[in-house]
Symmetry: C2
Subunit: 105 residues, 2 copies
Amino acid sequence: MHNVRVCNAVRKGGAMRVRTPTELGALVRDRRRDQGLSQEALATRARVSRRWLAALEAGKPSAEVGLVLSTLEALNQEVSVDDRAGTTPTVDLDAVLAAVDEEDR
Amino acid sequence: MHNVRVCNAVRKGGAMRVRTPTELGALVRDRRRDQGLSQEALATRARVSRRWLAALEAGKPSAEVGLVLSTLEALNQEVSVDDRAGTTPTVDLDAVLAAVDEEDR
DNA sequence: GCGACGTGTGTACGTTCGTGCACAATGTAG
DNA sequence: CTACATTGTGCACGAACGTACACACGTCGC
């Protein structure tokens, strides 16, 4: 028989920004605990060792990205990458250059 | 004088889902090219070697996650992690269990 | 045709990886 | 208080890392 624990609440997580390996590790730990999983249980699902998972949760920067993605998938988490807010120009340069060309005639 | 190239268009990138190292590599290459950068230029910004960056773009799963995050930051990209759509239960288990308890009385 | 540039990839090197195992510390249930 | 589960972390091992360098190839501008 499995040792199953019922969580107090299972929340709808908002998207979490991740900038550093430490933030990533904390996120993995939080999600794992939210889902009532031990390190051993998640490690098995993600096909990594518990030793490795412990190091990831502790913020190890040299963890393999493939194993990280596998671990997030085992937690039913999806990763998305987007332009950082406020940094991407929203101008069609071709259109601008074409307009300049028109002016010069 | 810098060798600067003007892109055909600079688009407001939508968020890209990333599930595998290959998808990640392709995203890095696309963003780099969108911004008119060479591998050498991005590698310098991200403080990695060009050799490593080429391997990342080719989908190397064992790339270090810390270097990956550094590279995405150099591309002004932010990473976010969220519950996979349609998989997160939105039920307060405590409430459910409490309700079951009430019924049994 | 030539030079410059960008990129894919092989090699060598010193260093560190992921894994398995073990042990200690902590918290919890009975 | 004891037993158990969980977690942090050190160590040994075979394997692979990131970096620097080099070379080949394709593309482009002159």
